[in-house]
Subunit: 183 residues, 2 copies
DNA sequence: AAAGTAAAATAACAAGTGTTATATGCACAG
DNA sequence: CTGTGCATATAACACTTGTTATTTTACTTT
């Protein structure tokens, strides 16, 4: 019959995704992916119709990666939004290019911040209910304030302008939650 | 003697700066600048050694633009950092590409957030002293917290995820300042 | 008016992009 | 063992980028 397949969809996607993590989305080109995967550009266009389709797949992979990252992040915080905030800020620091792609960059694939945060995990809804159960009168408004704060820390982390430790960050998030509740 | 100069440094710089405001830094190319300035690419390379030098000049212009923007912004807020915050957030919304270039993008020209905020205006030092005079025990710490919040709102504004009015924003900044003071 | 000279326009080069046409190689059916 | 058909490699095309070489243009001085 036919020659055996050497380069798989997974090979290509994994390579492109790793490159996005390390060098950013803009540096993922057909020839660079091929070089890193150890093949010519041909296998890429066998498994994907064009580069845009590959980049769609990379974006989807980034979404899943963030969801998994959040799922596995330890729940040490006690106040609502603190665990989500901790994971989000740490993700921004450790995966600056993925964070940029998902939450900052202006590309046609980008979903809204709320879609991304609510993925299959339903994080925001859960946290808002938690705040309501704890007696917070306007949990939606509190989420907005907390999220402005959390997003600010994360964006600083992404650009290297944020250098508090995990412990300091958790303390900051819990205290600011309480401050926002009483305001 | 020689032929009269038609295309000046100012023509080129203004064109490139306008393009940055409207389409972003990444879309400023020699041919596009030339087309918009109504000339060939040649005058660009007469007045600038190469594109990198032009982009340096555009970056410097963006810095000045932000300083001027802040200088002219009305001082309606009463709490420390509120006026700086208002101007910063509005700038992010109105000049998303300039904001990105100055405060987000990862380019070799980029200065630290604090350098940019302290330009010739000395904004941060002034505001911190204001907080101290008003009896704030640790104004530096308070600035950090306020700035995380302000930067968060600005980054959301940049990406279109922030839609509070000026009045609501000022209220939010003043109330969060007071909340942070008591925390 | 003629000439010289700097500015601008035109055209070209090399490098890098996505994409496609063509050639090669290989595993299995016969 | 031999040919068929798919996977891969090679090579090429069209386009965009920065940059430079060459040509044309027009102003100022003589």
């Amino acid at each position: 019959m036919a020659r055996k397949e050497i380069i798989t969809v997974q090979n290509i996607l994994d390579t492109a995704f790793t490159m996005t993590r390390e060098e950013g989305f803009a540096n993922v080109t057909a020839r660079k992916v091929a070089a890193k995967a150890g093949c010519s550009t041909q296998p890429i266009f066998r498994v994907y119709k064009n580069m845009d389709e590959l980049l769609d797949a990379v974006y989807a992979q980034a979404e899943t990666f963030f969801q998994d990252y959040y799922s596995l992040y330890p729940r040490t915080g006690k106040t609502p939004f603190s665990n989500l905030g901790m994971a989000y800020i740490k993700f921004a620091r450790e995966e600056r290019y993925l964070f940029e792609l998902l939450f900052i960059a202006d590309n046609p694939r980008k979903k809204s911040m709320y879609e991304l945060l609510n993925g299959k995990v339903g994080n925001v809804v859960y946290e808002i209910n938690l705040a309501r159960v704890q007696g917070c009168p306007d949990p939606g408004d509190l989420f907005m304030k907390m999220w402005i704060f959390i997003h600010g820390a994360a964006c600083m982390a992404m650009t290297g302008d944020y250098d508090l430790s995990d412990r300091e960050t958790l303390d900051l998030l819990e205290r600011s939650y309480n401050a926002f509740v009483g305001m």
